[in-house]
């Protein structure tokens, strides 16, 4: 059956915007990655020159022999040059000087070539795909650093890395995972699917959305470049005063984290504005898919928490470059201040990572359980509750930092309170499973794995929320095991579930389910084999970030390291499956609605057309009315059969 999925010209409502008729820019205004790289090199040179010009005479620069200002300005102007080369500044600059912008780049899906994915684009679906590839690259790089760490820990004394490199690798791994991966789910799936799931044709701020992505490669390269200037000794938490004293790699950490903070802020505001303003007729708040709710709450957390991070990194950069003393106790500052600023962002960040994972779980469970989501409103309340409470728990990271002892019980209470909404979300997920006839597909396996892992991570977190227990476990591998269970075991398992579930819609290609099951089982077993023993290692007193440990712990550490290599094998299976299926030998699902979902994202062609929907759907029921006679979720314009679930849009094209 041949189906016309082109976008009728009548959809264009006059105002040029995403999805409108394509136009050609002159070459110097077209923007691409090559120009971006040239812009970055030129920008770095200019910034570095300026920094030397301004600060080379500073007493501190002459005394220390290092000019942090030159490096920081180099990074910042390089980022501007990168964005300018990509064409990100064309539109605002043209508007600024009063030039009428007459055309926007836009390519229909049928005409989209490889090059479209390397451009600064206004199509949220392309941005979603860009995010997916970007996040996978960052994740794999950070994972390789993890394997280097585990390789070093095969021995109780130094044996692989140069002696000063271990902390650098730990810092790179931790920062890359916790900084870059904040957008692992919101980036690819939030950007791609939120408009589709709410029946919108576009994002509210497509330029900001694209900007939020294209900042991430700059942040990644800046962070990685820290290795070339000595690395940073602070790990991913960047505590002062060490961060103020450290060598120039710390500048890379601060600039990169600051850039990612900006990416989070603008990405978050874009999703918020889209969900508030662009819902289709009939898409009431209580009909919003749970994944959209998760994206919405996560975006609120990003928009509210990340500015504190950006402020903190800016303050530290000021201390390092122009000799303010915000974190210097000897001159009226407070190194303790950083811990408050950092964790005021950092703990909401934990939920920035956890909520999207739950969003995917809650979204997928009804599809594979073939029954309505259990206690929909309660699940929504749980997510909102987690989001609100997440701003009141950050000081539990400071239990061992000399905080006011009277505050400890208060923070212990708020931290334990957050178990309630988290538990509610968890129980609603379990409720959906109750008496369901499950389809054990690959996405479903990953969701069940995620629920198992998160349970261990969550319960171990309750111990750490108690002051007496935390006083013992603080700074040990017990803490490390806990947050890997919640973040890698929860968030990343959900990320993989999302990939297996939504990739057919994003690309029109379905990953091999057989390899997917291998991926799941290898990863699930190896993950638990890696991180469960770390609880014991932590309880036996092995501190984090130290590569020399008691010889008695070598057996356990070797077991953990070998298991970590097996995790690597699991990831390799996925990479092979992904590259082979998506790039080399594409596998096309026979059915457009691969999983039989009621969601609006399946109401359009696969992959979706540039404007998402030929006709905006009218939502008439909730997204999870499986097993009832509620009828389809949305009503489409008469004759728009190509948009109904089950329509086969690939054949004959």
């Amino acid at each position: 059956m041949a189906t016309d999925i082109s976008v009728p010209a009548s959809l264009d409502h006059g105002t040029p915007g995403p999805g409108s008729a394509a136009g050609r820019n002159p070459w110097w205004r077209s923007g691409n990655i090559a120009y971006g790289l040239v812009g970055a090199v030129i920008g770095y040179s200019i910034g570095h020159f300026l920094g030397n010009w301004i600060a080379s005479g500073y007493q501190q620069v002459q005394g220390s022999g290092q000019n942090d200002l030159a490096l920081v300005l180099g990074y910042l102007v390089a980022t501007l040059g990168w964005l300018a080369g990509l064409g990100a500044l064309n539109y605002p600059l043209q508007k600024l000087v009063g030039i009428q912008v007459t055309s926007e780049e836009s390519e229909d899906i049928e005409h989209r070539k490889l090059g479209a994915y390397f451009k600064y684009t206004l199509d949220h679906k392309v941005v979603g795909v860009q995010y997916l590839f970007g996040m996978l690259a960052y994740f794999i790089m950070a994972g390789l650093f993890a394997l280097v760490i585990r390789s070093e820990l095969l021995s109780a004394t130094r044996h692989l890395l140069a002696p000063d490199k271990y902390l650098e690798v730990v810092g790179e791994h931790g920062t890359m995972m916790m900084m870059m991966m904040t957008s692992a789910i919101l980036g690819p799936f939030g950007n791609y699917f939120v408009p589709l799931m709410i029946g919108a044709r576009r994002m509210a701020y497509p330029r900001l959305e694209a900007l939020s992505f294209w900042i991430t490669p700059a942040a990644f390269v800046v962070l990685l470049s820290g290795l070339l200037v000595g690395g940073f000794p602070t790990g991913w938490t960047g505590y002062a005063p060490l961060s103020v004293e450290a060598t120039m790699g710390q500048d890379a950490y601060l600039v990169a984290f600051g850039l990612m903070g900006i990416s989070m802020i603008i990405g978050g505001f874009n999703i918020i504005a889209t969900v508030v303003n662009y819902r289709a007729p009939g898409m009431t708040w209580m009909r919003l898919p749970l994944f959209v709710w998760a994206m919405f709450v996560t975006s609120l957390l990003m928009a509210l928490a990340a500015p504190i991070l950006v402020g903190g990194t800016y303050m530290t950069l000021m201390d390092r470059t122009v000799q303010t003393a915000l974190f210097d106790v000897n001159h009226g500052g407070s190194s303790y201040l950083w811990q408050d600023l950092y964790w005021f962002f950092g703990h909401p960040e934990v939920y920035i990572l956890a909520l999207p994972g739950f969003g995917i779980a809650l979204e997928l469970l009804p599809v594979f359980a073939r029954k309505p989501a259990f206690a929909y409103r309660t699940a929504v309340a749980g997510m909102v509750g987690v989001g609100m409470l997440s701003f009141f728990v950050w000081q539990h990271h400071l239990f061992a930092s000399g905080m006011n002892s009277d505050m400890r019980p208060v923070i212990m209470l708020t931290t334990e309170m957050i178990s309630f909404p988290t538990g509610i979300i968890y129980l609603t997920a379990i409720g959906t499973l109750w008496r369901a006839r499950l389809r054990m597909t690959v996405p479903m396996l990953f969701i069940i794995g995620m629920l198992f892992n998160f349970l261990i991570g969550g319960i171990s977190g309750v111990f750490l929320s108690d002051v007496p227990t935390d006083a013992v476990a603080h700074g040990t591998f017990f803490v490390m095991a806990h947050f890997h269970y919640t973040i890698m075991g929860g968030y990343m398992f959900a990320f993989f579930a999302g990939i297996y579930y939504w990739l057919p819609k994003m690309t029109g290609h379905q990953l091999s389910q057989r390899l997917g099951k291998w991926h799941f089982w290898v990863l699930f077993i190896a993950f638990n084999s890696t991180f469960l023993p770390l609880f014991a290692i932590g309880e036996l007193g092995m501190p984090r970030r130290v590569f020399e440990y008691q010889r008695a712990l070598q057996g356990l550490n070797d077991w953990v390291s070998i298991s970590a290599y097996v995790i690597g094998i699991g990831i390799l299976i996925f990479v092979y499956n992904f590259v082979k299926t998506v790039v080399i030998d594409p596998r096309t699902p026979l059915a457009a609605d691969t999983w039989g979902s009621r969601g609006l994202e399946w109401f359009t062609s696969t992959p979706p057309v540039a404007t998402n929907f030929v006709h905006i759907p009218e939502v008439v029921s909730g997204p999870y009315e499986y097993g009832s006679d509620a009828g389809p979720m949305a009503v489409l314009d008469a004759g728009a059969t190509e948009l109904r679930p089950g329509a086969t849009v690939h054949e004959g094209n």
Partner: protein, 232 residues
């Protein structure tokens, strides 16, 4: 559920083009990874103490190293086969008495804690300062304490006085410094136990230009700290 869809070009490329693309990406990524990990395992030069009865390690601490990435940083140099090299990785034999001789060319200041005036962990609990055997040095004397040589895991701690503030013949770059310049000579002996790798460092904040002196050379391997590799 799925069918192989190889009849049409994906992303505007034929299958051979896509294979070439993947291969190209793998080559670039592989090269980048090889560069990164080669850097991570690159090891600084190591000075091996002569395996003689004396087993002497000869070091000098200088106010500014004058070479490398951080020429203004305070640093140690080590002697190997009579030549001075910029290294803080020292290899010594296990279960032996290893004699250290350190030429201290840097200036100093009083310590924050007078308890740290005491020598610890050396054979006899003493050091020899300019020919005189001492158990304790006075950090409030002229010149204060320039640096300390400490191996925490072995309990070794040796304070080394700085040169006098009245000196007129201080060593400046280029290093190494000749013994004709003002300096203090500190000698001590430690007994190494079982093989292992042990961190050694200076505990005097001396990173000029860094917050309370603890940044830069104090926190960068190869300047005011290193590794003692005790080998069988």
């Amino acid at each position: 559920m799925t069918q192989i869809d190889d009849s049409k070009a994906q992303l505007g490329l034929p299958r051979s083009g896509r294979l070439a693309l993947v291969t190209g990406v793998l080559v670039v990524v592989g090269a980048a990874l090889a560069f990164t990990f080669a850097y991570l395992i690159s090891y600084p030069s190591t000075v091996v103490a002569a395996a003689t009865a004396s087993d002497t390690v000869v070091l000098q601490s200088v106010g500014a190293i004058g070479l490398g990435n951080h020429p203004t940083w305070v640093s140690y140099m080590a002697q190997e086969n009579g030549n001075w090299v910029h290294s803080t990785v020292l290899t010594v034999p296990a279960n032996s008495d290893v004699h250290f001789k350190i030429y201290q060319y840097d200036s100093g200041s009083p310590l924050r804690n007078p308890y740290m005036d005491q020598v610890a962990g050396t054979v006899g609990g003493t050091e020899t300062l300019n020919g005189q055997v001492v158990r304790i040095v006075n950090d409030n004397a002229d010149g204060g304490i320039g640096h300390t040589f400490a191996i925490p895991s072995l309990g070794v701690y040796v304070p080394m006085p700085g040169i006098s503030s009245l000196q007129t013949n201080a060593c400046s770059t280029p290093v190494p410094c000749a013994t004709t310049f003002d300096h203090n000579t500190v000698e001590f002996t430690i007994h190494t136990g079982a093989p292992g790798t042990f961190t050694w460092q200076c505990f005097v904040p001396c990173g000029l230009g860094f917050l309370i002196g603890n940044g830069g050379p104090m926190s960068t391997f190869g300047y005011m700290g290193g590794y003692l590799k005790v080998v069988a």
